[in-house]
Symmetry: D3
Subunit: 245 residues, 6 copies
């Protein structure tokens, strides 16, 4: 059930039996010449909703803007500074914990969010550790691509051409979710270079078309469906185990 499509009495009823919620979090950032700016948010949202259906868990509205400072050299990219994103996550968790939610499962679609989300968890816990009157909560971060089966499919389909940004896997999931928004453009070289980066200027210099190590031309909606289904199954299992702990 999506929280956005529920009424408050429905949430009240839900909380009588359960106390977990899934929070999709993505980013709005360039994904190369053919990847959508919303790729990370779309993947997180779609898979979270699938998990919500599979497991009967509530799914919060997607946090669509994440920490993407390194992508600001490409038009359309948006970032929250880490300090801002931490405040957003603190307010969100605190709000929901007022109602009795105690388990916050962040389903993440963007590698660049990991450190800041993890720091936000510590900020949330720190309030209570330092003596504030707060209900005890547990937070978990899970990237949708973490599951063994998802990794295996990506490897089987793309091998080295999976790369690490604007990957064919994530592009495929968005093609499956939004077939009307499949984009084509020449990719040169087909498999982008690999490497590190610091700020937006450095990133654009190192990766002129935005991709890192990937060939997203290999993406297909069919592959997207396989990846989506594998991710839903793996995340649903992980979520179920975690809330049962």
């Amino acid at each position: 059930m999506q929280l956005q499509l529920a009424t408050w009495p429905e949430v009240e009823a839900y909380l009588r039996a359960r106390s977990g919620i899934i929070l999709p979090i993505g980013s709005t950032e360039q994904h190369g010449p053919t990847g959508l700016l919303g790729t990370d948010a779309i993947c997180a949202e779609e898979i979270a909703r699938g998990v919500g259906e599979a497991s009967g868990a509530l799914v919060a509205p997607t946090i669509s803007i994440g920490m993407a400072q390194h992508h600001l050299g490409f038009p359309g990219s948006i970032t929250l500074r880490p300090q801002t994103l931490i405040s957003v996550l603190c307010d969100t968790v605190l709000s929901l914990s007022r109602h009795g939610f105690t388990r916050f499962y962040f389903l993440n679609g963007h590698g660049g969010n990991i450190a800041t989300i993890t720091a936000a968890f510590s900020e949330i816990y720190a309030a209570r550790s330092l003596g504030a009157e707060r209900a005890a909560v547990k937070c978990r971060l899970r990237n949708w691509w973490q599951g063994q089966k998802v990794q295996a499919i990506a490897k089987e389909l793309y091998g080295e051409a999976e790369g690490s940004h604007a990957t064919p896997s994530e592009v495929a999931v968005t093609q499956f979710a939004y077939p009307r928004a499949i984009k084509r453009a020449p990719l040169d070289p087909p498999v982008a270079a690999r490497g590190g980066f610091t700020d937006a200027e450095d990133y654009r210099r190192n990766f002129p078309d935005g991709r890192i190590g990937s060939n997203p031309a290999l993406a297909t909606p069919e592959a997207g469906r396989r990846l989506y289904e594998a991710a839903v199954a793996s995340v649903a299992e992980d979520y179920a185990k975690w809330v049962a702990e």
Copy 2:
């Protein structure tokens, strides 16, 4: 065009001719026994997308969590503190202004956001007024229900029963957008009481089922369509005029 469904070269091309963007902003908060928690975000998002199609403007991802502290007495409601929301809006506008966007049109679905969004505009302008090196930008706040025609339809259909929270108008728009999520529940009294409020406890005491002055049972998807179409037309006109100034 939705920003989330565009690629960065598409945004780059867009910016050659235009510099405006529409940013839907809503809230996740109770809307009475039958209204969806996502009502304000859904209305802003749907109408913004309609305007985007009608006017060829880019539409940013929806900011789904707003300033809703007064609704925290009802399960599922989430708030950002005003200071947090201000930071979110500052980071968002600053990110996009890096790429050449200069006109930020916030299409708002939640009365409780108005003051904080307006304060955020001042925070954004203040940086430049106080001497920071920033590109000049213009921000505008528009509530989807502001147009004369929208007001007239609401008045014609609901009269006094429109109220001010969990209104039949906004519920109707969500019914049109998500017919699968139409909820029914007894509303007692049919038209809720009116009044003011301060914090969450005060709000819940004054408005035990969450509604203020409204009878959302009058909402229908058909009315939703009329309101949606009137809102899209009115906002598109306002947007076009504003970016042409």
Copy 3:
């Protein structure tokens, strides 16, 4: 009674019977070639003190610096960033609530403050809504020019030449309060242009002498007295009604 001229035992005695306080808040910003930089603070302060006398309410010290980023293109203007002003208002209300004050009536002299003050109220309420141990408080914002009778006098005296910044009404009130500080200068055109603005540079470009839509040359101390008296009566009535709720 002015808080500044009271002793703590007097405040303690006051709090045995009452719990409201009036907080004048203005701005320090240009008001055209003849208006005082302190216009907004002076109007709020004078009228608040009048109300205090009329109604026996305590009047806090005037917050003389407000949110005036758009006026920074004119020498002498000072702004607090919205985030700073929100913190000031939070600390002030929290301090006084410790003593038993529960009703905070902000008498405002500056349109540019409205959004930020309103956002500050939400920030104050949000702390409690999010679970902090705080006494419940109620805040109200009232602009001194809001009363029907004040509006009628302004309309009668100045019609369209009232404008919206450096208005003859506010200038008249300051002339009544500080007859020694009445300034004369040529105003060209007599009635200034109208329009909108964003940051300080934009404001100065649009309104080269600082006025918006007004002809403050029409102001007189006598008119100031009428406006002052009407404002005191109207605010005192509103205050009395509010604290009695």
Copy 4:
């Protein structure tokens, strides 16, 4: 000249020849059974205005609420947290530096403000030291009671009964400034105890009527005039020397 009573063209003219401004800063806090809550703000304001007249310097609006957390055990006391006050001072100085002011002379009426004001100066300087594009400014903090002559009068009149809070000197200055607000109450013991304090609870426990080491019953308006005149002379001299450096 008071900034509040000046127009922007007057400030523009002032800045052609001078670049200094005097900023009175006080506090709103208990001053024992007979001292006014506004004592510190009143002393700073009155003396600053006297200096302004004597030296032709502009005088900013009084910052009436300072850092007074230790007085919150007594009704009517208000504090800004140090972090808030630092932000207020940063915004104020930055605003005025935009216009060409480069010398900021804070005339202080409250010992409890000293550390925070001094820290704020460092915060202001730090922005530039860390590389921000800012005009160079100089800030100075002066307590009104610092002058040798003022100290001598206090010693002559009150000796040990001067104490350190709710002193007869500061009470005398307020009696001179506001003869209509002279308060009488039994003081027991006549000379209050001395000592240290931490938070509000600790302060109230140590100093049950709010005074520290003082006997404000000795204050007279005549003494207030002598102290006021000595302070004005001493501060005017110090200010003139400083801006001439």
Copy 5:
């Protein structure tokens, strides 16, 4: 060379040829019944100094207090909230970048710091990505225990008893560094339980004596020397490679 033991002309000379600096960062937190509260800071400091000697790199003063909210259930543990630690790292890097340092190599001794340090890097980069005038910098995080050889020694010596908190490896390094501070106490069970944790209360409940999965009784100063030497060699190599990129 330790920065603390250098003069500014020596740093100026250093910067003519090099622009990297090593910044040891640890934590002050419980390390079980026998581990020192300073374990993480000591390990980072000792190894950083060794690397400094081996490679001629400057070594900044140790940041001894890190993000350790989960350890606050045990006396002596100190934490910075993540937001505070991010500000500390931003100020530190910005200060040093003023002088011409461009490579910031954080040698970390505490797993709990990783997310926050990484988020701080993004905060630092984000300023520039969002348009602030800043010199370009590169930051790197390296945990002292990351090197292959260090891992191999730990595995060889302790196998499963290495665990993840209060490990024999880190205790051994402190025994080597501070032989006078070797502590003994019964450990029951010898190898502590494994598992996860959230806030301080949760941690203490799960791990009553503070250890996670480890048997620090196996530590010896001799093993400490081996680990220290392996770590110095591995970090020096990594540092040299990184600054040469």
Copy 6:
């Protein structure tokens, strides 16, 4: 006992009998051509440890980076902005107060820290004064050079050549502590000029080699020992008296 070299059970045992802790705080900043960048941290740390041994008090890890914005014109200097340092001190004190520490004795080695540390104390107290649930704590700031005997030795040895920055006294203490790091360089003039300063640029212009009013060439390790011993004795006495209050 150094906290860093203690285990948590040792701290637990300590807290059964005592509740005070000594927190050395210094700075990393230029100290002229021959003084160490770590001078202020080293002096505070060494003397604090001496006091710890003399009095059996726990000594926290040294806060080595302080408020040194004015020294940023010289390579190697690092500053925390005052707001950052305040947050660091708040988190540190709040962490330790969770365990039962109630007396926080900051032994300071840097004049530039005084205002910010004092403001931080107010920030700490303010939380409780404004109603937060916090244990009551007491904080004290002591500069190592404050004792009468220390002052007498400095006067006897150096007279006017002591100056106020990069003093022979502080350099002597570091020579005693780190004889391997005694530096020599020509000082011209031998006794540096005196004066004030604002930001880093202003400081460097006024004091080209970093010293203020001092001749550190007079420093010797022997003098360092005398100063160290006098400081330890004086601080130990002050600490003992204070915790016994």
